[in-house]
């Protein structure tokens, strides 16, 4: 190959490698490429390792072992039989012999023991007599791989304790309200708060963001006033300058720390607009105690937070619609609005939805602005409307991780898993929706 090149020496400037040097040069260039490939691979590996560590850490805390010790063992009460195997009269007998008379009188006054069902009696026995108590908890890795050491430690400190597997993430955890007892605490209130905040934020941010994006992309270059008069020219230029200024600021706003939005929300929605956001002007009385620190204020603040990203991603999606489609529409006698509504928007929708859902899914994880606007960290009642107090998952997690007891760390990890599943399913929904809309528009 190189011989042919050399044969016509006149063609060569002598500045390019010839003969053997070509082979070497190519080898050097290929080697350089392989080095970069290795570097890129390494950075991917680092990323994956960090992700795995994160997942391990959470799972390690959310599952594991607990050592349960009872005040009185079940066997002692029943002579080695199961509570469930006893008759109703026997259960009542156990209660009468083991409870103090005052407690017993109170129970009888509520409803005579003889009239209560077996399950009810067993519950009372468990709560009042056996009183199981978690004396130690162990993360999953220790529970699985360090069993002998744990058992030795337990045997010394709590000889009667029983070691068992515990999943902190369970149905009870998902459906119970908040509690100061970590064994009974759940995240129902927080899940409902997060979901309603999400829905409200979408309802507010989606139309506003898309509307602004359409204006900035499609109508910004319009000249609504008469160009021939000086006043009209001045007005047109003023409108365009303002829109340009707004556009620049939207890009900057998308980088503003979320806590600043929280302060803005506190000043405007919680304080200044309190009569509206607390629902007082609409005659809603549940918001009176919330003083404007309602789910509505939070949704408005979150909408402000995500709006810049929604606008920018919608603008990009609108810009990506080929101008040949717009021209085709205009060429058939469509008005601007018809072209935007029937051609531009349907074609931009997959991109708009993906961008918007990704922006909003980021907002679900936000904690700082909600703390600033005064969301509740301890609340046991579910959100019931626009004007109710609320809490959200990240706040709950934040609250639990700041507690000293180990059990709270475990349920915080369980709540993190729930939050992550929620986020991932939102993102998955965004991708599926986009693929569905794309395939619908392009093929068949």
């Amino acid at each position: 190959m190189s011989a042919e090149i050399n044969a016509s020496g006149e063609r060569s400037t002598g500045r390019l490698p010839q003969g053997e040097a070509v082979r070497q040069n190519v080898a050097v260039r290929q080697r350089r490429g392989r080095v970069w490939e290795a570097v890129l691979f390494a950075s991917t590996v680092v990323g994956i390792v960090i992700l795995v560590m994160l997942a391990f850490n959470i799972v390690n805390d959310a599952f594991g072992g607990i050592a349960v010790q009872s005040v009185v063992e079940e066997e002692e009460l029943t002579d080695g039989r199961q509570l469930e195997a006893l008759s109703q009269q026997e259960l009542v007998g156990i209660l009468e012999t083991n409870l103090r008379s005052r407690v017993l009188r109170n129970l009888e006054r509520e409803r005579p023991l003889a009239e209560r069902s077996k399950e009810e009696l067993i519950d009372i026995i468990n709560q009042e007599i056996i009183k199981p108590e978690v004396v130690a908890i162990y993360p999953l890795s220790e529970f699985l791989f360090n069993r002998p050491a744990i058992e030795a430690e337990l045997a010394e400190a709590f000889p009667r304790a029983e070691l068992q597997f515990k999943s902190w993430l369970n149905w009870n955890f998902l459906t119970s309200p908040m509690s100061s007892n970590p064994l009974q605490a759940g995240i129902r209130t927080a899940i409902l708060g997060t979901l309603s905040l999400l829905l409200l934020t979408i309802l507010i941010a989606f139309p506003l963001g898309i509307g602004a994006a359409i204006y900035l992309e499609e109508y910004n270059s319009d000249k609504p006033f008469d160009e021939r008069s000086p006043v009209g020219r001045w007005l047109n230029r003023a409108i365009q300058r303002t829109a340009g200024l707004i556009e620049t600021n939207i890009y900057n706003l998308s980088g503003v720390p979320s806590i600043i939005y929280g302060i803005l929300g506190l000043a405007i929605f919680v304080r200044a607009l309190e009569p509206i956001t607390s629902g007082a002007v609409f005659g809603a009385n549940e918001g009176v105690t919330a003083n404007g620190r309602t789910i509505l204020s939070a949704a408005l603040t979150m909408s402000l937070l995500v709006l810049p990203v929604v606008i920018i991603s919608s603008q990009e999606a609108i810009r990506a619609v080929p101008s040949s489609l717009r021209q085709a529409s205009y060429g058939l006698g469509a008005t601007k609005w018809q072209t935007v509504w029937k051609i531009v928007l349907p074609n931009a929708l997959p991109g708009i939805l993906t961008g918007t859902i990704l922006a909003i899914s980021r907002a679900i994880g936000e904690t700082a602005p909600l703390i600033v606007i005064g969301a509740s960290t301890f609340i046991v009642t579910d959100p019931s409307g626009l004007f109710s107090k609320f809490t959200v998952l990240p706040l709950q997690i934040y609250n639990w991780t700041s507690r000293p007891q180990e059990e709270f760390r475990a349920i915080a990890a369980a709540a993190i898993i729930v939050l992550l599943i929620l986020l991932l399913s939102l993102n998955a929904a965004a991708i599926l929706l986009r693929n569905y809309l794309r395939s619908k528009r392009i093929s068949t």
Partner: protein, 265 residues
């Protein structure tokens, strides 16, 4: 806009037309008339303003920020750029086919039905079916697609897509069809089909076509307008306008002769 009393052999007439993009004058001093039910070709080298002139006939230039047209473009004796004329109405009566086939990412049926629907179609579903068939037959596409009208317009071949775009333009029942290099993205066989189609359409429509392909102009047009950029101010101008036969066999201007004989451009 259509006035019955106006009687002229021209569908479109321009008078002292100048087109500006911002401060730059792209086309200057164009005065000529497009005859009814004829095919008029606009030819010339790149940058000579022939596409700009074509787009001025249905005010597509309005979509370009800063573009403006001076002088008169008369359609049925009315200036298209008059103060009380809406560009939307102009485009409804003077349709356009673009250089690159640009069907909507919709079904073939919906591609055709889009125009009538946005223009206030009042007919029934059955009438719409009829209209779609008529438009597709008019564009010589019916036999190829009649069995899968639900198929996406983008699934067709390039030549079929361009005929779909022609059918789409026909569906709003225009009087004039402007074609901006409609065959430049097509293979020779598809090109031939479009040219045959143009001859068919001439019976009912006035066609103006911009083309880079001089054989196409010679083969497929009745009149030819030759445009050239003025070297001094870089503005395009009309050099010669005559029947296609005269332009190609007996050009009066030396520059026309040089261009058609392939000496420049």
């Amino acid at each position: 806009m259509t006035s019955a009393t106006y009687d002229s052999k021209y569908a479109i007439e321009t008078r002292d037309m100048h087109i500006y993009y911002g401060a730059f004058r792209a086309v200057k001093d164009v005065t000529f008339g497009i005859e009814r039910n004829k095919i008029t070709a606009l030819i010339g080298p790149s940058g000579c303003g022939k596409s700009t002139v074509l787009r001025s006939f249905n005010r597509m230039n309005d979509l370009i920020p800063g573009a403006r047209t001076e002088g008169e473009v008369l359609y049925h004796g009315q200036n298209l750029y008059g103060p009380d004329v809406d560009a939307v109405q102009v485009r409804r009566e003077i349709g356009m086919v673009f250089q690159k086939p640009n069907p909507f990412p919709k079904s073939i049926y919906d591609n055709i039905a889009y125009g009538p629907r946005i223009n206030g179609w009042k007919g029934s579903k059955a009438e719409m079916d009829e209209l779609v068939e008529r438009a597709l037959r008019g564009a010589a596409l019916w036999d190829e697609v009649k069995d899968d009208l639900k198929k996406s317009g983008l699934a067709l071949s390039g030549g079929q897509q361009q005929r779909l775009c022609i059918a789409r333009a026909l569906a709003v029942e225009p009087e004039v069809i402007l074609m901006d290099e409609p065959c430049s993205a097509l293979d020779p066989i598809s090109t031939l089909k479009i040219e045959e189609l143009m001859f068919e359409l001439r019976q009912n429509y006035t066609i103006v076509i911009v083309t880079h392909n001089m054989q196409q102009a010679a083969r497929a047009s009745d009149y030819t307008a030759f445009f050239l950029m003025d070297k001094d101010d870089r503005a395009g101008q009309l050099i010669e306008y005559d029947t296609t036969n005269n332009i190609f066999q007996n050009p009066k201007d030396k520059r026309t002769e040089e261009y058609i004989s392939g000496r420049f451009g």
